[in-house]
Amino acid sequence: MRKSLHLLTPAEKAKLMKQLRKDAEGEKFFSGVLGNKNSFFIAKPLPHRDASSRKPAKATI
């Protein structure tokens, strides 16, 4: 738990910044996105069309 930023003493603020900078050491590895837009797991649901809007099938032999 942490106090509001404006209530931090200079020493507490310095300690917080030290921790935040340590967290940010891996920032160079974050390109801005995680995940895979081409993933099989996030395949789009098939388009759905109501039976009422479907054209009648053509007769074939």
Partner: protein, 209 residues
């Protein structure tokens, strides 16, 4: 399933222009997800930064598209309590939630993540993204990605999920490798111990109200 605590929203500090600044992570609602579809790619001379911003925008659009699918099938949770109720009602159901990062010093959300709770009570990260201005460094904010991952673990820990996982790409595998401290190829898996470590790391930074 252990009872989920009120862990979200959570307010904590990140680095903004080399100063600590508070941000809040919470579950997003429909308006939040829709607003992320209006993000724009900033005009930039740096091709690499423009490409990163374009990727972030594309991920936000894809996440919103998936969100609409879950919303329209009544499988999208707008709060942790709602997610718990959905799971209690249908333990084998697949549900989705969307996290957002907001701050009173930035007009839009700073980032978001679309996460699925799978039928076997794992969390899967579909998309995680920073705002195009953040990932192109127009706005100098750090650790949005790391803290969104921690927030997902915080939710997973509160729900008693035994796994958080997702696909890793050539670009994202180094991120997971660095923060998980091990080699990651095309998939990352965090088991309960790692979930708890990440959750506690964020919870320990929580600002008192």
């Amino acid at each position: 399933m252990p009872k989920a605590k009120s862990v979200i929203p959570i307010t904590f500090a990140v680095i903004h222009d080399d100063e600590p600044a508070d941000v809040t992570v919470s579950l997003a609602g429909n308006a939040d997800v829709t607003s992320s579809t209006r993000w724009r790619v900033p005009t930039l001379d740096d091709e690499a930064m423009r490409s990163r911003a374009a990727d972030a925008r594309e991920y936000a659009l894809l996440a919103a598209k998936r969100w609409r699918h879950y919303r329209d099938t009544n499988c999208a949770a707008h709060s942790l309590d709602e997610l718990r109720q959905m799971i209690a009602h249908n333990p084998k159901g697949e549900f989705c939630f969307h996290l957002k990062v907001t701050a009173d010093w930035f007009p839009a959300s700073l980032g978001g993540a679309m996460v699925r709770r799978t039928w076997c009570h794992h969390l899967m990260i579909d998309f995680l993204f920073a705002h195009p201005q953040v990932c192109s460094r127009v706005v100098n904010v750090k650790t949005i990605g790391l803290n969104l991952l921690r927030a997902i673990c915080l939710v997973g820990d509160a729900l008693g999920c035994k796994r958080v996982w997702g696909e890793a790409t050539q670009d994202s595998a180094p991120f997971y490798s660095y923060y998980l401290g091990r080699t990651v190829e095309d998939m990352f898996v965090m088991e309960r111990t790692a979930i708890r470590v990440f959750a506690r790391a964020l919870d320990s930074m929580r600002r008192t109200s």
